[in-house]
């Protein structure tokens, strides 16, 4: 078999988890990261990032809705996927994750967005007609109460939801890390650090995404970017990046130092089959370069330059974190559990689990976000002021 090297167990010839399973942690990571950025303002009172609060929430929602799609497309029997909710096997991280997802979607994200937008929903309801009017009516749950008292209650409850939401977001993506980290059969995955590494790379990717979306939307709406906001986001991105890098370096150092039975196999794999995706894309282009760019902006005074550099850093970050997911998921399947051989992943384009589908799945959340932004504009006052 071409691309195969050495000895693999006969059943290992076919890779089990495809690019769709790379997409899934990438998407849920963006959700967790975007939410944590939003919670910076709400819970930690970082006023500077307030302009991105609503956008971050909507971004998280758009991506969270799309997140189950790659999983459904990957399953052998997607029509049976509801079984995970009806008869979850309590020892299975994958099964319990279904409830973490549901909890986070319904009890955290949807509730928080609802509380934040309620006043706007009610006013839009009163102002619109036809189908949109019905939509807003449903969203308002038929309540028109936007009195000062009600809004105060909303604010308090919203704050509580965000406080609960932070550990929920940690759980959402940490759990995905645990799904990999708890597989003792696979030494590339099996480490207690996996949930934490996943979580911090999620934060990095989510913050980078919101930073990019904010700039993109400002450009689209033809308004000026709030540079204090942008600089603050970039600073938090840098901090998260430094923690993420430290964690990954710690994992690497530990592996190299202990050099257990799997080390030679994994080391060889990283230097050959994973060289481009891990060393070049994830580490250099996706981590070291963005860190350098972000750090160096401290000494750059021209806002325009900082904006462009932030955008470049943000895009490199997203590519780098995608590469990280790729290296974990695909990398974990390129070597044989016999530690005596390797296989390859043949990514096709036009199949159910191919590149074409993946591209569509990555574009879908942006389409959804576009719809959400139209239904629930994050900056209605500004937009109206600019239109006038």
């Amino acid at each position: 078999m071409d691309g195969m090297q050495g000895f693999i167990y006969p059943n290992e010839a076919e890779l089990q988890w495809s690019i769709l399973i790379v997409l899934y942690p990438f998407i849920t990571g963006l959700v967790a990261g975007a939410f944590i950025l939003a919670s910076l303002e709400r819970v930690f009172n970082v006023q500077a990032v307030k302009p991105t609060y609503r956008l971050a929430l909507l971004t998280a929602l758009a991506f969270l809705i799309v997140a189950p799609l790659p999983l459904q497309l990957h399953l052998g029997h997607p029509e049976r996927s509801f079984e995970m909710y009806l008869t979850p096997h309590t020892t299975s991280a994958m099964a319990m994750f279904g409830f973490v997802y549901l909890w986070y979607l319904m009890a955290v994200l949807v509730v928080e967005i609802w509380l934040e937008y309620r006043q706007q929903i009610v006013t839009s309801w009163q102002r619109s007609s036809g189908l949109t009017r019905i939509a807003y009516g449903v969203l308002a749950l038929g309540s028109t109460d936007i009195s000062a008292d009600a809004l105060r209650v909303d604010d308090r409850v919203g704050r509580l939801v965000t406080i609960v939401g932070i550990p929920s977001a940690f759980l959402l993506h940490g759990y995905v890390g645990f799904i990999f980290g708890s597989v003792k059969a696979n030494p590339w995955w099996s480490t207690p650090m996996m949930p934490i590494v996943f979580l911090f790379s999620a934060i990095v990717s989510g913050v980078a995404l919101v930073m990019l979306m904010y700039q993109a939307m400002a450009w689209y709406r033809r308004v000026a970017v709030d540079m204090t906001c942008l600089d603050t986001i970039a600073r938090y991105l840098l901090y998260a990046f430094l923690i993420d890098l430290s964690l990954e370096l710690l994992d690497l150092a530990h592996r190299i130092y202990e050099a257990d039975e799997s080390f030679k196999t994994l080391d060889f794999m990283v230097h050959t089959r994973l060289f481009v995706s891990q060393i070049v894309v994830q580490i250099v282009l996706g981590t070291l370069v963005p860190i350098a760019l972000l750090a160096s902006m401290r000494w750059v005074s021209r806002a325009r330059v900082r904006q462009v550099v932030y955008a470049i850093a943000g895009m490199l970050t997203l590519v780098g974190i995608f590469a990280m997911r790729w290296n974990v998921v695909i990398g974990g399947q390129l070597f044989s559990k016999s530690f005596l051989g390797y296989t390859t992943y043949k990514l096709q384009f036009a199949t159910r689990e191919g590149l074409g589908v993946s591209i569509v799945l990555l574009l879908l959340p942006f389409l959804m976000l576009g719809g959400l932004v139209r239904l629930l504009p994050p900056w209605p006052h500004e937009d109206r002021a600019n239109a006038a």
Binding site: F82, Y85, L86, T87, H89, T90, T91, M106, A107, V111, W114, R118, L141, G142, S143, D145, S147, D149, A150, R152, V153, V157
Partner: protein, 150 residues
Amino acid sequence: MARFRSYEHLLRLAAVFAAGVALFLGARWLLVPSDYGRLGAYRASALAQNQLRPIAYAGQVACVECHTDVADLRRSNAHARISCESCHGPLARHAADPAEAVERPDPRATCAVCHLPSPAKPPWFKTVAFTEHADPGPCTTCHQAHAPKL
């Protein structure tokens, strides 16, 4: 404490959630298989379902029931402990309906599968260099397959 009016909308939200939970519990009651969990975290009927497979290999005992002459011939010779179906293939259908024809195994290839020499084979196992030993005639020219020791 805020007046009821101020948080009435939250109660509407709670009602929506309660409806969702009720829907979920209803779906559970309807859709979870009745035998799930009886023996463990699985459908108990899966045990029975795994038993439902037609049998392909009849087993040595089944062959001996009819072919007593072959059984006698094999006894105390080198191939005595080898199952008939090892060389003859799956024969459950033949055992169920003896009229069903059975293909004879190839009198050279079948022997070669086991008896071709290889350093990987354990030292106590008898192998033969086929190219040197009575090539290319079938092994049955000299050896009785059921009592091969000459």
